[in-house]
């Protein structure tokens, strides 16, 4: 072993208590950092998962257009203008063309058209207001993973069957409907249809479960008294949901229709997410930095204690960088011990919390072993350790042996 490392390890092992205190500091900082950041990943994941159950990454639709004044050339007389929404149909013209155009984008994974219709579910004289989403069942399932929420029946039976409907569990309960029962619905255009319940889904979000249903897109078009090219939305999923905001403008340019990323569409929710992220990041870094101060203090103490040793070592030919190495080795050893035990501790905490049942549409506590956060924590921990160790080490290297020998 190199003599510098030898001296460093002797200092570490003869001062077990100090070493232990410093390691404990890093351990706590590290484990809480990893734990909180893993929790953040878990939160974000469940949040976006629950969003993606009913929202596509990108929604392409026809936005309302405001009327524009005629005089727009410079220098022309200004006239009183009163912009209004142009009364145009909100259908996408030639949807099949648009769909195949979008499909050519390499980032896009799924493209599927959708027609939403506000409806009433009728039972005897009572009516329940709700929303029927007209979809191509197989594509909609790929996008929203509908099958994972099915509790009764078979969603596959929806495919190509314009008389089939998949209803939420709340709707089923209120209307006491079972699989293969008939249900009568009325659209806002006054169209009445009898449909057969093919599946019942349960998302654990009671608002959705009590109002939503899936029908075939053609059925929805009929309910709205429109032809089979009537499409209000085209839903698009991309490879990386985080890139949705980048792909959306590309699609806007490509199709000429408004494309909106899921984050844009859920702006207030995203603001809450960002706030959560800021708080957790701030707290976890603060804890790590406090651990860094622990190392800094303890190393400073060691340097003061060992000032005689430093003086004689320098007299005997140890260079400034040798002294730095001695104390930096100590700091980094403390760092490595703290980081490794902190990672183990974080893994234990995650294991414990993973088993806690929360309920609702969340189920178990949304936390998992996030390898990237473990690695990130280790790197940040070591960087902080490095600086916490480097400052006292540099101070030690600058000790003037003569001033010590004179005392």
């Amino acid at each position: 072993m190199n003599i510098n490392a030898d001296i460093a390890s002797t200092y570490l092992f003869t001062n077990k208590k100090l070493t232990l205190v410093a390691v404990m500091g890093v351990l706590l900082g590290m484990s809480i950092y990893i734990f909180m950041n893993s929790m953040l990943v878990g939160f974000d994941r469940t949040s976006s998962e629950s969003i993606f159950k009913s929202t596509a990454h990108i929604r392409v639709y026809k936005d309302d257009i405001l009327s524009k004044p005629l005089h727009q050339t410079e220098g022309s007389t200004s006239v009183i203008i009163n912009p209004k929404v142009v009364p145009a149909s909100n259908t996408i013209i030639n949807p099949n063309e648009v769909v195949s155009l979008i499909k050519k984008n390499p980032d896009v994974t799924i493209v599927t058209p959708q027609v939403s219709a506000t409806i009433f579910y009728n039972v005897g004289k009572t009516q329940i207001a709700g929303m029927a989403i007209g979809v191509i069942p197989s594509e909609a399932d790929m996008m929203f993973n509908i099958k994972s929420t099915i509790v009764e029946g078979d969603f596959d039976k929806m495919q190509g069957n314009t008389n089939a409907i998949a209803i939420g569990s709340g709707v089923a309960e209120k209307l006491s409907l079972k699989i293969n029962d008939n249900i009568n619905i009325t659209s806002s255009k006054g169209v009445n249809r009898n449909l057969k319940v093919a599946a019942i889904f349960k998302t654990n979000n009671s608002v959705i479960d009590k109002s939503k249903s899936y029908i075939n897109i053609t059925t929805a078009q009929q309910l709205l008294q429109e032809n089979n090219t009537y499409v209000t939305d085209i839903n698009v999923n991309v490879r990386d949901p985080e890139k949705a905001a980048k792909v959306a403008p590309v699609l806007t340019n490509l199709t000429g229709y408004k494309s909106e990323g899921w984050k844009e569409a859920n702006e207030s929710l995203m603001a809450a997410f960002r706030m959560r992220k800021i708080v957790i990041t701030f707290v976890s870094y603060t804890i790590l930095i406090v651990a860094g101060f622990g190392i800094y203090n303890i190393l400073n103490m060691t340097v003061s204690q060992k000032i005689n040793d430093i003086a004689i070592l320098k007299a005997m030919g140890f260079k400034g960088h040798d002294v730095i190495r001695i104390f930096l080795t100590q700091a980094l050893s403390i760092g490595v011990m703290g980081v490794v035990s902190g990672m183990i501790m974080a893994a234990i905490l995650v294991t414990l919390l993973k088993r806690v049942y929360i309920g609702g549409d969340i189920g178990f506590f949304p936390i998992d072993y996030e390898l990237s956060k473990f690695i990130q924590g280790a790197i940040v921990g070591m960087v902080i350790t490095f600086f916490a160790g480097y400052l006292p080490a540099r101070k030690a290297a600058q000790v003037d042996p003569v001033s010590i020998f004179r005392k």
């Binding site: 002797t10 040793d309 320098k314 007299a315 005997m316 030919g317 140890f318 020998f405 004179r406």
Partner: protein
């Protein structure tokens, strides 16, 4: 052959008041010489010794060691030179208390890295034997008596077979018996191994028996 040579070395302290500690010191030390430096307290002996040992670089004039001008060399160069060519003994032993005596002695040699750890260990044992301490080898340095600690410090100064050994009151804390032991060792080193010793001392007996005495007074050699 001169092992050490100074030309017009002067040094000032600026704090608390401007004060010239050393005034145009010029002298030479030959190889194998046993030199004692005496003088009243405050005459500048330690200050001069720290300059000669290259630890203090803030002075005017020129210092040559082993035929090389060391004035103006970088701290790292000087450190490497000290490691190889100069051994140190102070009034206080400055042993590393957590290390065994043997390890303390080995440290300068491990730093030099010229020999394997095994060879260094056997050399360190030889030095301990020379100072009559072989039975204390594996004790921590903090568990030895003052005289024993001082002898371990001397063994440490010898481990790299330096050209020079610089001592600031090496026997200051020792009784007459231990002083005699240390003196005999120094004598032997100079006469038989050709090593040079420069020792600042307040012990007139010690000085009288050395090869040569330099007396300092108010920053000058008299």
């Amino acid at each position: 052959m001169n092992i050490l040579e100074t030309k017009n070395i002067s040094k000032y302290f600026h704090d608390p008041v401007e004060f010239q500690v050393l005034k145009n010191i010029s002298f030479t030390v030959g190889k194998g010489e046993f030199l004692s430096m005496i003088g009243k307290s405050g005459s500048g002996k330690s200050t001069l010794l720290y300059i000669l040992s290259t630890m203090d670089t803030e002075y005017q004039g020129q210092l040559m060691i082993d035929g090389q001008i060391v004035t103006g060399q970088s701290n790292d160069q000087l450190a490497a030179m000290r490691n190889q060519k100069i051994g140190f003994v102070f009034q206080f032993h400055y042993l590393l208390p957590e290390f065994s005596c043997l390890k303390n002695i080995m440290i300068p040699a491990l730093k030099l890295g010229k020999y394997s750890t095994k060879e260094i260990e056997s050399k360190a044992y030889d030095k301990l034997k020379l100072l009559g301490l072989e039975d204390q080898a594996l004790k921590p340095a903090s568990k030895l008596s003052g005289g024993q600690q001082q002898r371990v410090a001397i063994a440490r100064a010898l481990i790299n077979d330096p050209l020079m050994i610089m001592c600031d009151e090496p026997t200051g804390n020792l009784d007459s018996k231990n002083t005699a032991i240390v003196f005999d060792i120094f004598k032997e080193l100079t006469s038989q191994l050709g090593q040079t010793i420069i020792a600042v001392t307040h012990d007139d007996e010690f000085a009288k028996n050395s090869d040569r005495i330099i007396e300092m007074k108010d920053g000058e050699i008299v």
